[in-house]
């Protein structure tokens, strides 16, 4: 190519690139405008809702709560501030007009916070949960569009280790005693608290009285020990003759932790943690876990054939509501779910314990909020999180969406107002000395959980010695973390 032509081509390409870059350069300003637009729209839309929503709560709310409320961050500047909060479904924008109760909780939180922080607009966004949420969060961090406040359940320690989160300890002096440690344990790293739960749940034990009485047993006497549970499950399965079974066990699927969550309850009771060294390393060959796995293997004999390996968690647990199973470990949301699914006589108690074991449970369905280091308004973001701990908000959680509040005062207040079923779960939250959370592996959690699930699959499908299975799982997990 001749020199003039080369120059000409170069100039042409440069000109086109300049035009393109100039066009790209204009984008951020429009992007800012476009994000501001829905925020404004959102503030005007639900204007009348809050007047009805917080009414009930306001009567029971402590009077001193608002004194800690006003934000210096929000009021110290004349510039309008947008606080972007990635919220869990119950606080996220409602697209389904039928979920009025969800709307109440969301609008109360947003409108009340904005009222107490003039000039601040709270933008609540739903970016999914679990795997989808993690993907969206990573994308947002990579593209510098991360929010001020993030939501989640089981990844905060890893983010805190990377300095991606702001510690909240300095904001918690007045409220820490009112928090239930298990609810924020998943967000504690190096002794600092990086997130607080806005609503929570815990595992208890569920039984279907129709199935139990059909099997000729007394439903007023729930199993208290593992031996009781095994014996009753076997009897019910025998009596059922293929029509109903003793127990529902959620098994392993890929690297999903749904089944592991329930196994963790039994491990906690046997004081057999699946991690060591401040829960940073897998401990899948913990000798104390041997009787737990043997117990689960035996229990699996009393489950509907194949159900343990059903990938659909909802389908697994609704079998009890459909009179196919008598017992199962249940999250605190099961009380409402059972009623909605047509189980009129589903009852709840504490999970049976092993000989020499202790009463323990695992926190689940825990909605934790945390402040990202990338937040433009970290103090205001921290205030949002502490705002959700106030009684005015916490008192609304159960009546509106049927989830359990996360503070001691709200749970204590709620306790007398609910039925026996919900009270059983509240008691676990209020009284249990040992509320645990699942480990958060710092490296390759997918491979580590796959190793554990593979062990469970072999446990339920082979006769291989438990110790050998545990050793294999430990080897695979250690390899994954190195």
């Amino acid at each position: 190519m001749s020199t003039p032509r080369r120059w000409f081509n170069l100039i042409t390409v440069s000109a086109m690139l300049s035009l393109l870059l100039a066009a790209c350069g204009a984008a951020p300003s429009t992007a800012v405008n476009s994000t501001a637009a829905p925020a404004g729209a959102a503030t005007t839309a639900p204007a009348d809702a809050p007047t009805t929503a917080p009414a009930g709560a306001a009567t029971t709310a402590p009077a001193d709560a608002p004194t800690t409320a006003p934000a210096d961050a929000g009021s110290s500047t004349d510039e309008p501030i947008t606080l972007t909060v990635w919220a869990e479904g119950s606080l996220a924008p409602v697209t389904d007009g039928t979920t009025n109760d969800l709307l109440k909780l969301r609008e109360y939180a947003k409108d009340e916070f904005e009222k107490q922080h003039p000039g601040v607009t709270v933008v609540l966004e739903d970016h999914g949960w679990d795997e989808v949420l993690r993907q969206n969060l990573t994308n947002a961090l990579l593209s510098s569009t991360a929010p001020d406040v993030i939501v989640g359940e089981n990844f905060f320690q890893a983010y805190a280790a990377l300095d991606a989160l702001v510690p909240l300890d300095q904001h918690l002096n007045d409220i820490k005693d009112n928090l239930i440690p298990g609810t924020y344990q998943a967000a504690v790293y190096n002794g600092k608290i990086y997130g607080l739960s806005a609503m929570t749940g815990v595992f208890g034990f569920e039984r279907n009285c129709k199935v139990i009485t059909d099997a000729g047993l007394d439903c007023d006497k729930p199993p208290v020990t593992w031996d009781d549970l095994l014996q009753l499950s076997k009897t019910i399965t025998t009596q059922g003759a293929g029509n109903y079974y003793g127990y529902t066990l959620q098994g392993p699927v890929g690297f999903s932790v749904g089944g592991i969550f329930r196994v963790a309850v039994y491990l906690a009771q046997a004081d057999a943690p699946m991690c060591k060294n401040s829960c940073t390393e897998p401990f899948f060959d913990n000798p104390k876990a041997v009787p737990v796995l043997q117990f689960l293997r035996e229990l699996n004999q009393s489950t509907p054939p194949g159900l343990t390996f059903n990938a659909d968690e909802g389908q697994v647990y609704t079998q009890l509501f459909q009179n196919k199973s008598a017992f199962q470990i249940a999250g605190s949301w099961h009380t409402k779910w059972a009623k909605d699914s047509g189980c009129p006589d589903c009852r709840y108690s504490t999970v049976p314990i092993p000989k020499g074991g202790k009463d323990a449970s695992v926190i689940v369905g825990n909605v934790i909020y945390a402040v990202l280091s990338a937040s433009k308004h970290p103090d205001l973001a921290a205030e949002w999180i502490t705002f959700l701990q106030r009684d005015e908000f916490q008192d609304l959680v159960f009546p509106t969406i049927g989830r359990l509040p996360a503070t001691r005062s709200a749970l204590t207040k709620l306790r007398p107002a609910v039925g026996d079923a919900d009270r059983a779960f509240i008691d676990v939250l209020l009284n249990s000395k040992d509320l645990q959370v699942l480990p958060q592996w710092p490296k390759n959690p997918q491979l580590v959980w796959t190793a554990y699930n593979d062990m469970l699959t072999k446990l339920f499908t082979t006769d291989t010695q438990v110790e050998q299975l545990m050793a294999e799982a430990q080897k695979a997990a250690v390899a994954a973390t190195q």
């Binding site: 003039p4 032509r5 000409f8 081509n9 042409t12 390409v13 086109m16 690139l17 393109l20 795997e131 993690r134 993907q135 990573t138 961090l141 990579l142 890893a158 983010y159 990377l162 300095d163 991606a164 392993p252 699927v253 890929g254 690297f255 999903s256 509907p304 054939p305 194949g306 159900l307 343990t308 390996f309 059903n310 990938a311 659909d312 389908q315 079998q319 280091s373 990338a374 490296k443 390759n444 959690p445 997918q446 491979l447 796959t450 699930n453 593979d454 699959t457 499908t461 695979a476 390899a479």
Partner: protein, 312 residues
């Protein structure tokens, strides 16, 4: 070149003499047109293909969580990870699915196209039926498959139960789940090749077939001696595009098997996704993507080359 020599300048000619810029413009008018047309798409490809590919390769030599720490040079560490369990098994699964799906899908598509090329009542409906799975959302189809293979209450197990046969727990059997993934991929992907083969079949001059019939060529002989050679260019296209698609199996694994049991259905694409977004390990994820790219390049090149050699 006398005709191109500059004419003597006269006062009237001064205005008609082209400027230097105009002459350059005229001389390069084809280049201008080409660049004007190509520049936007080149910029597009540079931004959305070239730069990401280069960035991917660069990141694959680093340790990076994608969250807030800058990438750290790691040399070949991420590539050597692919030599340790479970990555060799994952690569084997990927190759197994790619080869089996590609071969069966191509053969099945060819024979379906042959059948659909026949004049029969409701031909349009049959063609649509084969193409519907390609257009349907993978999530919906995966849900349908899950309903069929559910270990408890699934359609297949209900049928087995009604026949007094023991239930099959598909989800704990590597062989069964691999079969499910393969069947799903073929079912979902066969529509595209069918349409391509059908188009190629319809472009064959009927007189060629008629001449072969006159010469006594029966059904299979006609397919082998007339149809297949004439479809060779389309066969190459289907194989090259098919091999890329077959290596990129993702949805059935992500939505049906989650890679289980025992990683026996886990494939490179799902592992790349998990390494990036579950394990926050972008170094390993991008190394996987680079390896995958190289495998695809090599496979496509091999298929193209072998086809050309045959033609030659």
């Amino acid at each position: 070149m006398k005709t191109r020599s500059a004419p003597p300048i006269t006062p009237s000619a001064q205005f008609s003499t082209p400027t230097r810029w105009a002459r350059t413009r005229y001389r390069h008018r084809h280049a201008i047109e080409a660049w004007t047309i190509l520049t936007p798409i080149l910029i597009y490809y540079t931004i959305f293909a070239v730069i990401p590919v280069l960035a991917n390769i660069a990141i694959s030599f680093t340790r990076w969580n994608g969250i807030n720490v800058a990438p750290v040079w790691a040399g070949l560490e991420n590539y050597t990870r692919y030599l340790k369990p479970p990555y060799p098994l994952i690569m084997f699964n990927t190759a197994l699915f790619a080869v089996v799906v590609l071969l069966i899908q191509t053969v099945v598509a060819f024979f379906i196209a042959l059948l659909l090329n026949e004049k029969l009542a409701g031909r349009g409906a049959y063609r649509a039926l084969w193409y519907i799975p390609t257009l349907t959302s993978a999530a919906i189809m995966a849900q349908l498959v899950t309903v069929f293979i559910a270990p408890y209450g699934g359609v297949i197990n209900n049928i087995l139960q009604s026949l007094d046969r023991p239930p099959v727990v598909f989800t704990i059997s590597g062989a069964w789940m691999r079969t499910v993934i393969i069947v799903f991929s073929i079912w979902r992907g066969v529509g595209g090749p069918v349409v391509l083969f059908l188009a190629a079949l319809q472009s064959i001059n009927p007189e060629v077939q008629e001449a072969a019939m006159v010469d006594g060529a029966a059904g299979w002989a006609r397919i082998r001696s007339i149809t297949l050679p004439l479809l060779r260019p389309m066969m190459v296209f289907v194989l090259v595009t098919g091999i890329i698609g077959a290596f990129q199996i993702f949805e059935p694994v992500q939505l049906i098997s989650k890679g289980g049991p025992f990683n026996q259905t886990n494939v490179m694409l799902t592992q790349i996704y998990n390494d990036a977004f579950v394990n926050s390990n972008f170094g390993v994820a991008t190394a996987g993507a680079t390896i995958m790219g190289l495998i695809l390049l090599a496979s496509s090149y091999t298929v193209l080359r072998s086809m050309r050699e045959e033609e030659g």
